[in-house]
């Protein structure tokens, strides 16, 4: 009975007693949720358009951030470096399409998945060769990102809000909004959606698959650049950052591999769930449950909806 009390009653009592802590935890969860969503978004873009589960998304985040910081350290102005980093992602997209995707067209999904593993190794080696393995500071000041914190007195305590987190949330929302407009209003966006629906039908109306793939990989590269800046500002730019890609996976299965709104809502659920779980229930089992809690949350959702919350319904025929 004691254990039941500790699991089902005590945390909620604690939440009620200290609402400021609850709000603080919720806020942190939402912010990390937005950042998870940013990474998951990169996965979704590529999966939707080409059916490739791009494991290299994590290293693309690191790579983009490293190029940005590396160029800045060489004396390139921050915003020029930003543009150059974006260009580098374009080059990467073109090269990946030419060298990796095109020869592997029509192969089973798992083979393409494996190829992105090869790409991950290649980029890790290449990045370390050029930039070295040392962690770096993200150039928050030069990019005019706000810093500092505000404390809001509320509910008998104070809630601490980092300006950077607010900026991250705003930029991520802008980015998602832009992508939504791009997908629904522009000619290329419509072509992208056509490809996502059916490769063959898209080809038959004259959409170039190769071109579309370059575009989605470039878009994913841009998302990676933004994610790299935001994550880099929080925890420094280093190769260990690529494991955040693993953090984005539960978000992805929760929201569904093919859904952009799914990535966002999944990110928020995972972010909040993870922080709440760690803060209120973690101490019961000795802490550190953040590493797997997200997966368990996602797994529980999956048992009800095997294609994720917003994924396309899986229809099987014989």
């Amino acid at each position: 009975m004691d254990i039941l009390y500790k699991v089902f009653v005590e945390p909620f009592v604690f939440m009620g007693e200290a609402p400021d802590l609850l709000i603080q935890t919720l806020w942190e969860g939402l912010v990390s949720g937005v950042l998870y969503a940013l990474i998951a978004l990169g996965f979704v873009l590529i999966f939707k358009a080409s059916g490739v589960f791009n494991f290299a998304q994590g290293i693309m985040v690191v790579f983009a951030a490293l190029i940005l910081v590396g160029l800045y350290e060489k004396g390139v102005p921050a915003f020029l470096a930003l543009i150059l980093a974006a260009l580098a992602m374009l080059v990467l997209a073109v090269v990946v399409e030419r060298v990796v995707l095109r020869p592997l067209v029509n192969q089973p999904d798992i083979i393409l998945f494996m190829a992105t593993f090869g790409l991950t190794y290649l980029l890790i080696g290449f990045g370390e060769l050029i930039f070295g393995g040392n962690p770096r500071e993200m150039i928050t000041d030069a990019l005019l990102l706000p810093q500092g914190t505000t404390e809001i007195d509320a509910l008998g305590g104070s809630v601490r809000i980092q300006h950077l987190d607010v900026a991250a949330a705003v930029i991520a929302s802008l980015m998602i909004g832009l992508l939504a407009v791009f997908f629904s209003k522009t000619r290329i966006g419509r072509a992208l959606r056509a490809v996502a629906d059916s490769h063959k039908a898209a080809l038959s109306v004259g959409i170039s698959l190769n071109q579309i793939w370059v575009i989605v990989w470039f878009a994913a590269g841009l998302v990676a650049l933004v994610a790299g800046i935001m994550w880099g500002a929080r925890s420094g730019v280093s190769f260990s950052l690529q494991i955040i890609a693993l953090k984005a996976l539960p978000v992805l299965i929760l929201g569904g591999f093919t859904s952009i709104p799914g990535a966002i809502i999944g990110g928020l659920i995972i972010g909040v769930g993870e922080k709440l779980g760690e803060f209120y229930w973690g101490p019961l089992v000795g802490g550190g449950i953040e590493t797997w809690l997200a997966y368990v949350i996602a797994l529980l959702f999956l048992l009800y909806r095997p294609q994720g919350l917003f994924g396309e319904k899986i229809i099987e025929r014989i």
């Binding site: 589960f53 060298v99 990796v100 020869p103 592997l104 192969q107 089973p108 999904d109 798992i110 083979i111 998945f113 494996m114 190829a115 593993f117 090869g118 790409l119 991950t120 190794y121 290649l122 980029l123 890790i124 080696g125 290449f126 370390e128 060769l129 393995g133 693993l246 996976l249 539960p250 992805l252 299965i253 591999f257 089992v285 000795g286 550190g288 449950i289 590493t291 797997w292 997966y295 368990v296 996602a298 797994l299 999956l302 048992l303 095997p306 294609q307 994720g308 899986i314 099987e316 014989i318």
Partner: protein, 361 residues
Amino acid sequence: MFYREAGQFKSNYVSDAAIFPLREDRIGLGIVIAAAYALAFMGSDFLLQAVMIPFLVFSLASIGLNILTGYTGLLSLGTGAFMGVGAYACYKLMTAFPDVNVIVWIFVSGFFSAAIGALFGLPSLRIKGFYLAVATLAAQFFLQWCFIRIPWLVNYNVSGALDAPLRTFFGIPIIGATATPQTRYLLVLTIVILLTWLASNLVHGRIGRMWIAIRDMDLAAELMGIRPLQTKLLAFAVSSYYCGVAGALLVFLWYGGAEYDVFNINQSFFILFMVIIGGLGSLIGSFFGAALIFIMPIVLGIVLPALLSPFGISVGSDTIEHLRFMIVGALIIFFLIVEPHGLARLWQIGKQKLLVWPFPY
């Protein structure tokens, strides 16, 4: 010329169902096994300890994953954790019952990881493809967390690491600091051969066909009367059994002691590489994949400095490391483009060519 099926007639059902129908194949297999045993007496300690033992251990783990991913079509990223369950179970059994021979415990420890594997295989009934792969990551991270947080698993020792106590077999130390690489190699080799033989019989028999039917189309298989629940869970259990035994071998016969970090997510990916590069749904491919993925970096580490030094490029060890990463990555992509069905398919093509040589067809 030396490799012909002409004149070898299948006169009964047993010979028709044989796994190696050609006499040459059987002789070749015999030679390979004999050579593997002979290597124990001729190879240097470095070769046995740093190349052959890990190669065999990884081959065994790849066979395990291949049963799940290659034969049953269930993508799993929890291999590392299942290996860990085997290792920790073996350690607990070994220290709790020191009088029983440790070889028995190595085999028994596999059953523990089989049970855990079947438990985490339950979602596979509803979830498929990459969704399942990510779901198995839950097993990976949860089990790894258990290895760290439950001190009971390492008998409350302060370092939190597994160590290999001295155990003997007819007076010869086989586990522990005094066991020679030679004895450990022989033990690993024997276990791997035994389990490979067992796996070969499994995948070629009724159970293997059930797995393959589920892989090719689970809905159709179900309509034909194959029960998806039992078949998938059996695949998870058998696969985890192999991984568990491989994990026990890895810790006690190769490293001689290890921390929880050995069984991290990278280990899972590593084994998956071996399976895919080697060839999905092929036992011999598991060996090829393990050889390529494990031995290639070692060879590159030796070859690269030698290759670069004549050009007057002297490079630091960290640069070599980075180049190695790049080359391994590039080679993975290269192999996939050249032969997406893995090295096992290349092997098959080679054998086919040899059968008709010197004629084109």
